[in-house]
Symmetry: C2
Subunit: 202 residues, 2 copies
């Protein structure tokens, strides 16, 4: 398999953490690239018309995306306990928490594009405020449900950890730990896993 | 169950089409609302910190989102043939096509917010061009794989049909049919289903 990824992409990090945790990393060749919504990346576009990473090229030569589809696909390839719980209610609790963290990341990337890519004169504070509100409410929701991030490793823990890692990487000024002490305690432990240490953005 | 939705939301439409097709609509109360990234909707935010629709309140009082999680949850509640294929390779083909259509919609909504919500002076043509490129490449990818949209009803067909319906609703000037005749033929038939007719945005 080949994973087309960008070292700074939190969605690509999710996939790399999955690959580490499931023992699939040795079967995966990592190909670095960089994407931006406002510039064409012909290599990525040829595999994913949405122009986003991660993209997984399977051994059958099929291109899979987005990160959720790839993570679920990887989960079908190993014999360890599944990272997507199979049965209700664990499955829906896990998918819901992962959706909160994925949504937090969507909002964070939109803020990042607004502040770091868009020309200053075209930036719109109401947009940034609206997306930042999503990030902050998502943090409070995750904080309230931090108890569900314990127990057997699952896609919720991985997604939440990658989301918090992205806030550390790009939104240090948000100081998310001060409003989310239980999440901070979760992250302090989770971030010591090899899968997280070896995929940290620099 | 209660579904918090907006009549114009293509992601909410996906869920409503699923509910029709799986016979679950009679168990679902529909609650209309409207959301925008730049304005607070306290009712929605209380259920989904991301401030987006659709949100499904289950009979257990649990709030599920986003549309993918809801659609998969609904698929677990009925006894008809599953709309998420269970086995490879059908499952990955279906999830991949649905991801193309979901990504097309993400790009289309970003263009919509840029052109219809953001003040004119803060609009950035390069952003609109970049997102429009994603829409157009996604259309060509779906066109090339329109053959996979035949056969047993699945989440790919539903997602693609809702995406094309949204282009008709908000992007008529894109004239997507001229570049995608096979998709146009698919949509012409699929749009006659009760589930589609009864959920068309107005």
């Amino acid at each position: 398999m080949q994973l087309i990824h960008a070292p700074a992409s939190p969605f690509a990090r999710k996939v790399r953490v999955m690959a580490h945790e499931t023992g699939l990393l040795s079967r995966m060749q990592l190909l670095d690239t960089a994407v931006l919504p406002t510039s064409l990346n012909a290599q990525v576009n040829a595999l994913n018309p949405l122009g986003k990473v991660p993209v997984l090229l399977t051994d059958n030569g099929e291109a899979l995306f987005d990160s959720r589809v790839i993570c679920e696909y990887l989960d079908s390839l190993h014999d360890k306990p599944p990272l997507y719980p199979v049965d209700a209610p664990a499955r829906w609790r896990s998918l819901r928490l992962a959706a909160v963290a994925d949504g937090l990341l969507d909002a964070a990337l939109l803020v990042r594009y607004e502040r770091a890519v868009r020309p200053t004169e075209q930036q719109w504070d109401a947009w940034v405020d609206g997306q930042t509100g999503k990030i902050q409410r998502a943090l409070l929701t995750l904080e309230a449900q931090a108890g569900d991030l314990q127990g057997t490793l699952d896609i919720a823990q991985i997604t939440v950890a990658c989301a918090l890692g992205y806030l550390d990487f790009r939104f240090a000024e948000l100081d998310w730990r001060s409003a989310a002490p239980a999440l901070a305690a979760f992250h302090a432990v989770f971030a010591t896993r090899d899968s997280m240490r070896l995929t940290a953005p620099v």
